[in-house]
Symmetry: C2
């Protein structure tokens, strides 16, 4: 058993800092969490499967993962993305069985933390419990927004909305450089997240490029005109509940080193 590395939880610090001010003691308490060695998973490798009863909380350090659900006949829906700084399933505290699966979309690195590790942290620093619950509720709000997207927004609007959302979330953890960021997932993943066929997703992507809304190549996404993209998406950032401005607005390394 070891503890978290400073670079490893930097995204988490930044994220929680968007919700409320973090004091030095809060950071110290989080740094004190004991964990196993850092885990590494390949893309397309599942981290957890529906029906399992995982006994650890996972903190994503680098790479992208997702929550997904699938049907017996193979249809698959990605219901959320995990970005660095996100906990995968804090809810194992309460629920016994996973009602969805968790998969890696790229190579990922994460820490595994025993739930009881949080106990003392929360007792010492009740504000941290608040921050963690806050994050859970934001995740829930994001799901509501996705429901609105898939149910009502056109494919173009939907995709635009997702890109703006990811831009906000990646900025929050210091992984955007200006209006550009690493975008390591495939068009197939995008299609699965948006309830579109691969072909149609590609068409929509072409249209966005034609409209000069974005540039996407070599796993890099660049937003050309954020305001216009937000207008197209009818984007309202309230559901992210980032009550405090991005601290530092740092020029941000692409990959936090281990």
């Amino acid at each position: 058993m070891t503890t978290l590395t400073a670079a490893g939880i930097e995204p988490l610090f930044r994220l929680l800092g968007r919700y409320m001010p973090l004091e030095e003691e809060d950071r110290a308490a989080l740094m004190g969490l004991e964990t196993g060695p850092i885990c590494i998973r390949d893309p397309r490798h599942d981290i957890a499967r529906e029906g399992e009863n995982p006994s650890v909380v996972r903190l994503l350090v680098s790479g992208w993962a997702c929550r997904y659900k699938d049907l017996p006949d193979g249809r698959r829906q990605i219901v959320g993305f995990f970005l660095p700084g996100d906990f995968c399933d804090l809810n194992i505290y309460i629920l016994k069985e996973l009602d969805h699966s968790i998969g890696a979309l790229t190579a990922v690195r994460y820490f595994e933390i025993q739930p009881q590790q949080f106990q003392s942290v929360i007792e010492d620093r009740p504000q941290l419990l608040r921050a963690l619950l806050w994050h859970e509720m934001v995740c829930s709000g994001i799901q509501r927004e996705w429901l609105l997207s898939i149910g009502q927004r056109s494919p173009l609007e939907r995709l635009a909305h997702l890109f703006v959302e990811l831009y906000y979330r990646l900025s929050a953890v210091g992984l955007a450089t200006g209006l550009s960021f690493d975008f390591p997932i495939t068009q197939n993943h995008l299609a699965e997240a948006n309830g579109l066929s691969l072909v149609h997703l590609n068409r929509t992507l072409q249209e966005m490029r034609r409209e000069r809304l974005i540039e996407l190549s070599d796993k890099q996404l660049r937003i050309n005109d954020l305001d216009r993209l937000k207008r197209v998406a009818m984007f309202n950032s309230n559901y992210l509940h980032f009550d405090r401005p991005t601290v530092g607005a740092a020029p941000a390394r692409r990959n936090p080193s281990p």
Copy 2:
């Protein structure tokens, strides 16, 4: 200020009882919550609007309500139903601003409870906090399932799935009689919840009737063959996390008296 009525809180008891055994002291603690007089709202009347900062927790006693989100151009998506026994937005504990609206779908009756009222209840009976969090997480799971439905299931499968879900949830609070239950909402509401046009929803409903899956008229829904309906919907009840069987399996009055 008064306290909850016995009949008013019965659905909540039944619901929490599906998650874990409720002791007499738990019931007593909940009954002790102080509340304002019971509120009454007409259908189509909003209970709360996006952007507001509500300072009360609402406990639905009778009637159906919904969470919804809308876009500036009027498109609307219902992202969840509230049935008797449900709390509308426990999350005001943490989040300051509502990122969605809450609307009445029928005439509804509910209690308004001050958040601080929960404080002592939770301190006395920590299991109740657990039950309330559990319910929040189930709501979150339901949203994920809806995402899967809207993203991947065909309209027929989607509708079938929703009906089975509502059957389970209504049974849990004692509002189903065998395979029948009050179904007080309009086809328009169903369309808005399923991301379908009204016309197409109607077509799909006809198809379900033709296939003898359900009967629906006079605001009463009857499931003709639950197993077949579940098969069509590819329904897996795990996401509801009802760990304990329905208690009593009571023949259940339709409308709990005030």
